[in-house]
Amino acid sequence: MENITNAITLVPLNHYILLSSIIFFIGIIGVLTRRNAIIVFMSIELMLNAVNLLLTAFSAYRGDAAGQVFVFFIMAVAAAEVAVGLAIIVMIYRNNNSIDIDLLNKLKN
């Protein structure tokens, strides 16, 4: 266990922050530009993984376990969230035969 935290700290912290912000922004761009509901959820997952990476890096650098515990919770809750999201997607697919989010335009001014 010691070895892993040491190995994490071999790379400078700034690199982790840079990498995770890049992943996070790829996720945001995916959410904004993709029209397929499942790919949008994948992009959200990418954003969450950026967060996980950042938390783990900070946790290793601080020598504090709280960040790593947080990561476990994020993984579990994200799975629950995606399960609900996918259920709703299935429901929409049954009615529309498509999961294009541009079809969601019944509610407008």
């Binding site: 967060v51 950042l54 900070f58 960040g67 947080f70 994020i74």
Partner: protein, 505 residues
């Protein structure tokens, strides 16, 4: 090694000592499990069994929450190694959440859309209870982990509730949009939280290390982390940058759920926002927190933008639920005014305003539900001439709308008056001109809101119905609740001290 044993022993003692304060939450969890079991085995034999368990269970929880006022010391108790804190203010928010949960459950019993779904209602009632449980944790949360978990708890269940009407395209769309926006908002909030953790090395926001860590770094990076974290809270209270989802979700979701979402998560979100702002502003230095001016400006600016967007967009709406959704955004702006003028009187003003808002808003949605049970429409057009046919309910609707506008003699007037005076008081003390501008905008917005709220009584009373359709009789349960809520609204308008006298923390 010996040290280690001591640590474990003290943390076990802390955990064991904390359970007693969680009685309402534990009961909620038990009732939830009981409902699922009851639904599995006895639902076929006894009609409405799950609904009865839900209503009576939530009533017991309400009594337990009231009981907590006596249980805790005046300064509150910190539980589960500073994960949550039970204070008098938190109990007040819990009371409000439980009351709105109860009203919404009664509302759902007779909603025609929910009664006619193929799924049946039992899942629905258990989910409302789970949302209440999540909200209870939200008002007590003190730790970034707990804040995240409770917000997600509420969000995930709300997605299901918003999309509950399977086969109804509007409800599905509202659920999908809610889930997408919610997931993005929580990801953004998590990014902010991970940065906060990196800067401070602690997840406990009341810890002195949290403030010191934030104050010691560059103000710019601290502000980015704080803003990202606040984005998740703004999503819950539907404040400015995160308010896009509100009209669509509120319009498509089943009416009782719209009523619930417009009140309960907002109450909990505001409570959490206050905890957060207070933690950030609790600087140890005598000159006060370095963030005080910037949070005040930020909240004041967001309050102005939120209420202006909400109230001006509402002017063009023709669907009553959508109109109420924009009005809910406008009201978030007013509540944010109170948070910006944060002080002890500010917090009391917010609590009173939330009470009044909850009464009037749930009441208004009940009337909308009543009418949609009767003539199956939520369009403003179809409300024409209904005032004469359903006199009592229509009069109650006018009272709710007057209260939401903030005119005497209803409780809304007193609530708005308190918020405005708290803002002006904060301006006098701090001399921040933005607060004064905020008050001016608040007054202008109140006048604007008059125009769209009074479209509803206008249609109810002064326009003739185009076609004579045969109408069902209204529901007795609904009319009784509606009239009781209307009377309460009037009562609090005339005797506000009856409630304010009780609120002391």
């Amino acid at each position: 090694m010996k040290n280690f044993v001591e640590i474990i022993q003290s943390s076990i003692n802390d955990t064991l000592g904390s359970w007693i304060y969680l009685l309402p939450e534990i009961s909620l969890a038990f009732i939830f499990i009981l409902m699922i079991i009851a639904d599995l085995f006895w639902a076929k034999r006894i009609k409405n069994l799950v609904a009865i368990i839900a209503v009576s269970g939530l009533f017991i929880v309400f009594l337990e929450v009231i009981d907590q006022f006596i249980l805790i010391p005046p300064q509150g108790v910190v539980l589960f190694s500073a994960m949550i804190k039970l204070s008098t203010a938190a109990i007040w928010y819990k009371v409000l959440i439980t009351i709105s949960g109860l009203l919404v459950l009664l509302f759902s019993l007779r909603d025609f859309q929910l009664r006619n779904t193929e799924k049946g209602g039992s899942e629905y009632y258990s989910l409302v209870l789970v949302v209440t449980l999540g909200l209870n944790f939200m008002v007590m949360a003190q730790n970034l982990l707990m804040i995240y978990l409770s917000i997600e708890f509420v969000s995930v269940c709300s997605y299901i509730l918003a999309a509950y009407l399977t086969g109804n395209k509007r409800s599905e769309e509202s659920g999908m949009k809610y889930a997408l926006f919610g997931a993005v908002a929580s990801a953004v909030m998590l990014y902010g939280m991970s940065l906060l953790y990196g800067f401070t090395g602690t997840l406990d926001i009341t810890n002195q290390a949290f403030y010191n860590g934030l104050a010691s770094i560059n103000l710019m990076s601290a502000s980015v982390a704080l803003l990202l974290t606040l984005a998740g809270l703004f999503f819950k209270i539907s404040a400015f940058p995160m308010q896009v989802w509100v009209p669509d979700v509120y319009e498509g979701a089943p009416t009782p759920i719209t009523a619930f979402l417009s009140v309960a998560p907002k109450v909990a979100g505001i409570a959490l926002l206050i905890t957060f702002i207070r933690a950030v502003n609790s600087g140890g230095s005598p000159s006060g927190s370095v963030f005080l001016a910037s949070t005040e400006n930020l909240l004041a600016a967001l309050a102005i933008i939120t209420m202006t967007i909400g109230n001006f967009s509402a002017l063009w709406q023709t669907n009553v639920k959508r109109l109420m959704a924009y009005s809910a955004i406008g009201h978030s702006g007013f509540i944010l005014m109170g948070v910006a003028a944060y002080s002890m009187t500010g917090q009391k003003a917010i609590l009173f305003f939330l009470f009044v808002y909850a009464l009037a808003n749930i009441g208004a949605f009940l009337v909308i539900g009543y009418f949609s049970n009767v003539f199956h429409s939520e369009e403003l057009e179809d409300y024409k001439g209904m005032g004469m046919k359903y006199p009592l309910v229509s009069v109650a609707m006018v009272i709710f709308l007057v209260s939401l506008t903030g005119l005497p003699p209803t409780a809304g007037f007193v609530g708005k008056f308190f918020i405005f005076s708290a803002a002006i008081e904060a301006y006098m003390l701090g001399g921040n001109v933005l607060l004064l501008i905020m008050v001016v905008f608040g007054v202008v917005n109140t006048v604007v809101s008059l125009f769209y709220y009074f479209k509803i009584p206008l249609n109810l009373y002064l326009r003739k119905a185009k076609t004579e359709i045969s109408l069902d009789k209204g529901n007795l349960l609904f009319s009784v609740i509606i009239i009781v809520l209307a009377l309460f609204t009037l009562f609090l308008g005339v005797f506000p001290n009856k409630l304010i006298g009780l609120i002391n923390f």
